[in-house]
Amino acid sequence: MKTHVVKENSMLRQKDMIAEHFRELARAKESGRKVVYTFVPGNLTELLLAFDCLPVHPEINALQSGMRKLSGEYIAEAERHGHSEDVCTYVKCDIGMLLKGNIGPTGEKLPEPDLLLLSYTGCFTFMKWFELLRERYKCPVAMLHVPYQADGTLEPSMIEYVVEQLRRELIPKLEQITGKRYDEGRLAGFLAASARAEEDLVWVLESAKHRPSPIDAYFGGVYYIGPLFTAFRGTQAAIEYYRELREEVAERMRRGLGPVTPEGELEDERFRLVVEGPPNWTHFREFWKMFYDERAVVVASTYTKVGGTYDRGFRHDPNRPLETLAEYCLGCYTNLNLPSRVEMIARYVKEYAADGFLVNSVKSCNSFSAGQLPMLRRIEELTGVPGAFIETDLVDPRYFSAANVKNRLESYFQMLAQRAPAARAEALAP
């Protein structure tokens, strides 16, 4: 593998944004800004910004630790403190990091939380995770109950229910912690900024409908969603980042170029895929390489929707500040029921003209991995396109068996290649 990694300007810009955010976190005590630990799905960044709070996302820290080859050590530390081998590896990585001094991914110490904010309940592990953190930090907790979209629909009563909780539970708590009054006008300003960036993100993600796709909507996609899914939604920095990204992608598309991989441009796109499930972080580049070596491009992924299903039309709406935040919490991908997830993936296969789809199932995540095999069968039926299934893990390096994953992917790509002439013949048949 090459050591020199090709990066675009937008990537470098994002790196600077993240570094600045962690610097601000390290200075939080002096600057007097309050720190809120919260999760990506259903995050309420604009509301936190309206109170000048700084968010910390434990699962993002965990994945960063995974990419920086630190997670193995952190997980081992958590296990030494009694956490079982089968527990979600994000949790153990975070706990391990905490036990080892809470040094964040950029090397600076993370501040302790002033509030633990849980604004999404589809993952029950999140609750237990924050219970563990509460034990440690003895800080206030705000826990919203966000109803699951069991019927695949978002009812007005569900929105009202979440708005009520924002109004009665969260906003008073934020006011108390920060000593600031809730300013709805200020919130609306951040929401308007969010919507602008969201517009550009959707444009970038949908550029993959083009042939060849100018982006990889999974391995590249995880970078593209970064600012909007984390601390930067509603900021000017995010608007600028997405504008630059969109220009870069538009230029690639105009020149008929493929996605940028760590080893340079991918030429001559061979397979177009849809992927369900998060990537493995500990072997991210090795995993990606298994795709680009075969000239396989991911044109759509569900993971890039866990922090918002913007491509289904949702935008933060400054005219309905609390309602729009409630809709956002309720609408993230992980809160959708199985038929909605099936429908989404099947639609991607068709709209993005994919040759196949792949489920990367996460071994240590039971709540999200359950149901993925029946989903795979159903999507095959709906689309007539064959699916593949592999199992890896988020940040536990022990659970990534490169030889097995490669073997399966190679088999799958060869199967797709073998199928291609037959599929063409079928399409031509009267």
């Binding site: 064959p386 199992e391 068996s401 073997n407 088999s411 799958y412 073998q418 037959a422």
Partner: protein, 452 residues
Amino acid sequence: MKVYVGIDLGSTTTKSVVLDERGELLGRGITNSRSNYDVACQIARSEALLDARFRLFQRGFDDCGAAPELAAALLERLRREFRRTQHLRLLAELEAICRVHAEHLGAGRSGPVVVALDEIFAALGLEADRLFRGTARPRSDFFRDIAGATYASEAERIARRGAVDHDTLLGVYDKSILQLEGKPSESLLEDQLLRAFELAGEGSDLAPATRARIEREVRRTIELPLVEAQVVGTGYGRARLPFARECIRSEILCHGLGAHATFPGTRTVLDIGGQDTKAIQVDERGLVTAFQMNDRCAAGCGRYLGYIADEMGLGLHELGPLALCGKRPVRINSTCTVFAGAELRDRLAMGHRREDILAGLHRAIMLRAMSLLARSGGVRREFTFTGGVANNAAAVAALRALVRENYGIEEINISPGSIFTGALGAALFALRAEHGEDATAHAENQTCGARA
């Protein structure tokens, strides 16, 4: 003549299949994969090419007008004589290596280990005669197993006399066999074949004129160049093969095509190899439509059976027949190879019979395979079982019962050459690469299968 070669570098064994230009089976070769894939590949390939010559001998004999039963008997003697010559050659090489190691252990050529080796190799030489000239049959296909078993029992016998330690003797063997297996073969095949033919011909009832014709035919066949027009590799070690990218195929595709070639009605394939289990769905052309493989854990694969055989002091070939004698299969929960050893000893300690425990173990393996089959889309008619484990009658019986129970399907296709299915598929891909056409057309001509 042009031939097409498929090589399946498996985790436990390496197989090779040679086809002629019409896609008909000419030869098959198998060896243990050992630590050196390159050598394993070379040996399996030369074994298959050698086997191809035997098949060509047979074709030639038929043309010479020899009575079929006499020709068949001659061919069988030729095969066994040849095997014996090869076996003796390997024994001689092994002995030489063992002696070097033994001399390093001290006291030079008069050391107790060297003296023990004299005795061991005398016994091994006698055993070769029994196996290849007498009525005894080897309990494994591989030199390392055949020689290893006798070496170990002789070493134990000698150690009991007290002059030399058992572990020391085994250590010498372990080091030497690895060295031998890593060494490519250097002997001239033609000479060995001719010598074997002379030995096999002694005492034959063939008329002198026929015999002369046959001898001419044998010489002609030996000299016939077999040109490898295309070689395709598959299996775990495929990345090790010095082939172009397009000459490497996934074992999933090869097993699908190989199973289809053997049984054209195949729709579902179960392959259980040394360390992986594959459930494959194919269409009417043998093209793979869906597949599932075992994940990060190889519990319940062929290696598991090998381990169990070792634990029980049995040969791998003896496991299935013994398990079939089980009347009341014992429930075994763990298919983890490591835990299974503990569970095995526990059940033995509780007084269960070996055959009942083995029957339970075979069922446990198949339960795992059933879950993989279900994942891949279930079992559809016709159902073909391939891979080394398909040679195990108890495994087949357990699978048959489960497939009947779950899918109402009675028949399972099993070819006696099921272990070669992946290599056959690879050889068919080789043929296709040469002709640039759909290998499945040739696949229809293949009839090497038999229904179990």
